[in-house]
Every structure is written in structure tokens, then in C-alpha cells.
Amino acid sequence: MTVLELRDVRKIYPGEPPVESVRGVSLAVEAGEMIAIRGASGSGKSTLLHLMAGLDRPTSGSVRLDGQHVELLTDLQLAGLRAWRVGVVFQQFFLLEALTAVENVASGLLYRGIPARQRRAAAVEALERVGLAHRMHHRATKLSGGERQRVAIARAVVGRPAIVFADEPTGNLDSAKGGEILSIMRELNEEGTTLVVVTHEERVAAACQRCIELRDGVVVS
């Protein structure tokens, strides 16, 4: 089953001069895949990830995410899609500093409107999946970089979304910690999570089943 399908997707940022960050990308991601999108800094990876994750709409072309045409959805529908069907991991983790690890993970379900008790139970389980159950009640500020990224991954997968995106997930970590994150992502994929990892690291791309090379907003291989 195709979870994500891009057809001739373009993104032009208006300005003087306009910046065309993504220039006609077409790709498809099947359920259960783990693919890498690799490219140098400035090649349009983050822009592409925002388009794929339904955080932005393409200037032209079509993005079909979980069976929905993103460019046709209203803001409200798009928010619903993100709340229920998409998970995203960022390079900077973006944890809520005042909250504990488990509370941060539970916040991944906040906008589904489900009871706090259920969110918490799912969060505990997700933390176990990333091997961080013992740090559950630690404040985000008390965690190391690697632990923070594991919390962020748990938050992205806690709602068992149709697809999970990661934007340079190892970019802020040393290679040992980066390796841990990588193996956690592989485990999650083996358990059935569909993963799209955006990176400039060869090592991360090698860990994926398939690698798409991006240069100046165009897929080169």
C-alpha cells in the first residue's frame, strides 16, 4: 500500500528573487518502508519534508499522504491528518522543557482529544520501545542529547501514525549517540513503522532500504 506519493511537487518561496527549493520531485513510499532522502545542506531536504508531512502545501504538483490530497485539504483537515496519521522527529528535538519525558511523549497525543490517562499509558509504552522507561519521570532539561532525541522519537510514534518523518535526527548528536538513534529507528521499522529519514550523512542513508538523492531541489537518483 502506498502511504505517500509525490507527483512533480514544486515549492517556490516568493521574494526577490523567488527561491525554488523543490523543483519537480516525484516519489512514492510504501507502507513498512524505511527510506532515506539524502542531500547536501541547502538542497531542499527540509522543505521537501515539510511538504511530505503535511506541514506545508506545494506551489504545484500533488502530495498524496495517507490517501489524502494535501493540496486540497483545509487547514483544519490538515491539522487532523497531522494529529492522527503523521509523526515528525526534528534535529533540535523540540521537547517542552517544563515537562518530564513521559509528559513530552504523551503530548504527541494531546491534539487527538483522548483522555490523559490513555495518553499516559501509551506514552509509557512508547518510552519502553525506545529503551527509556527508566528516565520516564526526568525533566526534559535533565536528559542528554541522545535521550532527548529518543523521547522525541517516542513522541512521534506514540500514536502509531501511518508514517514517521525524521529531519536530520542525528544531526545534533555525536556518532555513538547517532548510531543508537539509528538502531532504534531500524527496530521501529522492523516492528512495522514506515519511516522517511532526511539526512546529509552517508551512514544514515546506508541504514535505510532505499536512498533518494536530492541536489538543488531535484531528485538525481
Binding site: H50, L55, G80, W84, Q92, L96, G108, L110, Y111, A116
Partner: protein, 413 residues
């Protein structure tokens, strides 16, 4: 309605339905107060701005109402149906005589309940004893009257008894006179040197709020005044107690009746008007301070708005994250609006407490009853909430207007 729309959509394509994103009301408070919990000092300081505004408004209303109800209570006790008739003062401040017939004439006016004639005897002075050099009277006067005075003024005695018809050289001292002469106790031998004669002190009066001139007078009977001080029998100040429902009608007749030949000289006044005027003054001063409190509140609200705008700028990444997690623009707006509402509610609560506390302390210090209008408490809190909404609206809208990608990109990456 929505069912029809969904049917149409399903007819166009066979896409699965998208579940809605929603935030439970129960989760809104913890979500909305997260920023406050992270930056406590800032939260307290910005709530303080509102608190000061509300506190000053509640305190002004409370203090005004407490002093007002104190004055109203006084008015109630003293009555507003006491009138005084004087024939004007001469240049030295001494009361000028009215015709001797004035008091009996006044008694005939319908609606008059009691009349008490008094006359200031300007030639006589009162001293503690005969050793004190003449002239040093300290503003004390000698006044002659009869038993009707106490009834008309509805006064009471602090010590001893009042004048009776048969009395010769005895005196009853006004409250201030007794205080100034240092008379705190009475015995058979307590005397004062009055108009060149020894007068036994028969009693000391309680103070009269509506007739302070009596407080500063040593009272003697008409008989004693005539016999010892060459008093000619004409009154200079007459107190009139009227039917409470006919005060103005009686007041209009007083001058003409008391001195038909020279009615334009006669001043008829209502001493309770001074108290009524005090209430009006307090109310207008209260309005002024209320205005100042409102300005303080406005400054407080601007402070909250300012802090909220900064908070939105600082928390762009958080906004981006929440949009990624599925928050709608409304959820983001609601979060920031909740934050400013909680800030202003805390400020309002603190303000009401501080304002009430100030009122209680001031009222107790002044010996007034404590009267904080419930409207001031409810209104103060309500005003705080309203100002919180206004302060939060613009920052909340700015936060909601942010697109997820712009919000995410701000911290680089």
C-alpha cells in the same frame, strides 16, 4: 448538514475520512499555563501589574463605602431634622441678638417639634480659677440656655446633670470646655470662674457633632445669666427640631418668623448638610482615585500584552511543534489566551485580596464599620478577566497566524 458534505466528498473520491484534531477543555489549563510554570518570575511580575490596578480600585471603593456608611450611620443617628437660626455674626465672630420673642414665635410653626433658645454672652469668659489672667480663654464661650437644649439636640451627659429652671450659679460644660479646663471628674466642690463669679460644675456634656459651638461653651441658666451677668433675655442662636417630613417647609419659614423686621439678616441652616456634603466630597474623591486605579489597570494589561507578545516570539518553536502534533490555529490561540486569562485572573484575585485587606486595615484604624461593596469584588475580578482577554487577544492571534513551517524554521535547521 455535515453529513451531506461528507457524502458529497465521498462521492468525489473514495478517500477515507480524516479524523478531527481536538483539544480537551480539561487539557487547556495545563497547556495554557505551561509557559507560566516555566517562567514564574515573569508571570508573577506581570500579574502584579493587574493586581495593583484591581487592588487600588477595590480599596478605593471599599474605603469610600466604609467611610460613607460611617457618615450615613452618623447622619441616621443624629437626624437631618435639626435646624439652627442665627442673626448673623458681627465682625468679631460674636453672635448678634435675635428678638426676645423669636423662640416662642418659632414654636408656633407647624412641624416644629422642639425649640431651644441660646444666647452667647460675649462679655463673660470662663476660666479654671480666678488666678488665670483674663483674656486667655482659648476660644471658649459662655452661653445661656435652658433645659430644652438637651432635648432639642437629643444630647447626653458625660458626667453629672443638666441645667434645671431653679439653678443659680451652676454651669454645665461642653465637651471641649471640660477637656480644655482639665475637668475629668465631678464632685460637690468642682467650680469654674465664670464672668467674675464662681459657678459649680453640675455636669459635662457628650460632644455634639451637629452643634460643635455647644462643645466649646460653658452653659448657664437664663436666671443666672440675668442675675449675675446682666443678660437682657434675647437669644442669639436657636436650635429647632422639626418633623423629619417637614424640614424644608419649616426651614423656609424660620427667618421670617424669628425676626420679622429684619428677616434677611437671619441665617437658618441645617447642620447635617455639612455631613451630607462630606459624603459627596468623599464620593467625588473616590471617583478620582477610581480613575487612577483604572489607569493602573490599563498599564497592567499593557504589561501582560507586552509579556505575551514576547512569549509568542520566544516560543515560535513550541508553536511549530504543536502544529506538527496536530494543533489547529484555534488551539494555539486558545492556549495563549488561556495563559493571559490565567495571568489576569491571578492578578485579579491578588488585587481583590490586597484591596480588601487595605480596606479592612484602614476601616479598623478609623474605627469605621467594614463595608466592601460586593460589586467592587465581583467587578474588580471581572474587570481583570476582561483586561486579560484584551491583553491576550493580539498575541494569541499572532501566535495562531504563524504557519507551522515558519514557526519551525526560526531556530535554524
Amino acid at each position: 448538514m455535515s453529513g451531506v458534505l461528507q457524502d458529497e466528498k465521498d462521492a468525489v473520491g473514495t478517500r477515507p475520512q480524516i479524523k478531527r484534531s481536538s483539544l480537551r477543555l480539561y487539557d487547556l489549563i495545563p497547556t495554557g499555563t505551561l509557559g507560566l510554570r516555566t517562567r514564574r518570575t515573569r508571570a508573577v511580575l506581570s500579574a502584579l501589574g493587574i493586581a495593583i490596578g484591581i487592588a487600588s480600585m477595590v480599596a478605593v471603593l471599599g474605603v469610600t463605602r466604609s467611610s460613607e456608611s460611617h457618615l450615613l450611620g452618623q447622619l441616621d443617628r443624629l437626624g437631618t431634622n435639626l435646624l439652627t437660626v442665627v442673626n448673623g455674626d458681627d465682625l468679631g465672630g460674636t453672635e448678634v441678638e435675635l428678638p426676645a420673642t423669636a423662640a416662642p414665635m418659632l414654636r408656633r410653626i407647624s412641624g416644629v417639634l422642639a425649640v431651644a433658645p441660646t444666647a452667647q454672652i460675649s462679655t463673660a469668659r470662663v476660666y479654671r480659677n480666678d488666678q488665670i489672667p483674663t483674656g486667655q480663654t482659648g476660644g471658649l464661650a459662655v452661653r445661656t440656655t435652658d433645659a430644652s437644649l438637651l432635648a432639642t439636640l437629643q444630647g447626653s451627659l458625660k458626667l453629672g446633670r443638666f441645667l434645671t429652671a431653679a439653678d443659680a450659679p451652676v454651669t454645665v460644660l461642653g465637651h471641649d470646655v471640660a477637656k480644655q479646663l482639665g475637668i475629668v471628674r465631678l464632685d460637690a466642690g468642682t467650680r469654674v470662674w465664670l464672668g467674675g463669679h464662681w459657678f459649680t460644675v453640675a455636669g459635662v456634656l457628650d460632644p455634639f457633632t451637629l452643634a460643635p459651638e455647644i462643645d466649646r461653651s460653658a452653659l448657664i441658666s437664663f436666671a443666672a445669666a440675668k442675675e449675675l451677668l446682666d443678660y437682657d433675655g434675647a437669644p442669639s442662636r436657636i436650635y429647632v427640631r422639626t418633623d423629619p417630613d417637614q424640614v424644608t417647609q419649616v426651614a423656609d419659614l424660620l427667618a421670617g418668623t424669628a425676626n420679622p423686621a429684619n428677616s434677611f439678616q437671619v441665617k437658618a441652616s441645617r447642620p447635617s448638610d455639612a455631613l451630607t456634603a462630606q459624603i459627596a466630597v468623599k464620593q467625588s474623591a473616590g471617583a478620582l482615585f477610581l480613575g487612577l486605579g483604572a489607569i493602573a489597570l490599563l498599564v497592567g494589561a499593557i504589561g501582560i500584552a507586552n509579556v505575551m507578545v514576547i512569549s509568542v516570539l520566544e516560543r515560535r518553536a513550541e508553536i511549530g511543534l504543536r502544529r506538527t502534533l496536530g494543533a489547529t490555529r484555534m488551539h494555539i490561540a486558545a492556549q495563549f489566551l488561556t495563559e493571559s486569562l490565567v495571568l489576569s485572573a491571578l492578578g485579579g484575585l491578588g488585587g481583590v485580596l490586597i484591596g480588601s485587606g487595605v480596606t479592612v486595615v484602614l476601616a479598623m484604624a478609623q474605627d469605621w464599620g467594614i463595608a466592601i461593596p460586593p460589586a467592587a469584588i465581583g467587578g474588580g475580578f471581572g474587570v481583570a478577566i476582561v483586561s486579560g482577554v484584551f491583553a491576550g487577544l493580539y498575541p494569541a492571534m499572532r501566535a495562531a497566524a504563524l504557519s507551522p513551517t515558519d514557526a519551525l524554521r526560526t531556530t535554524g535547521g
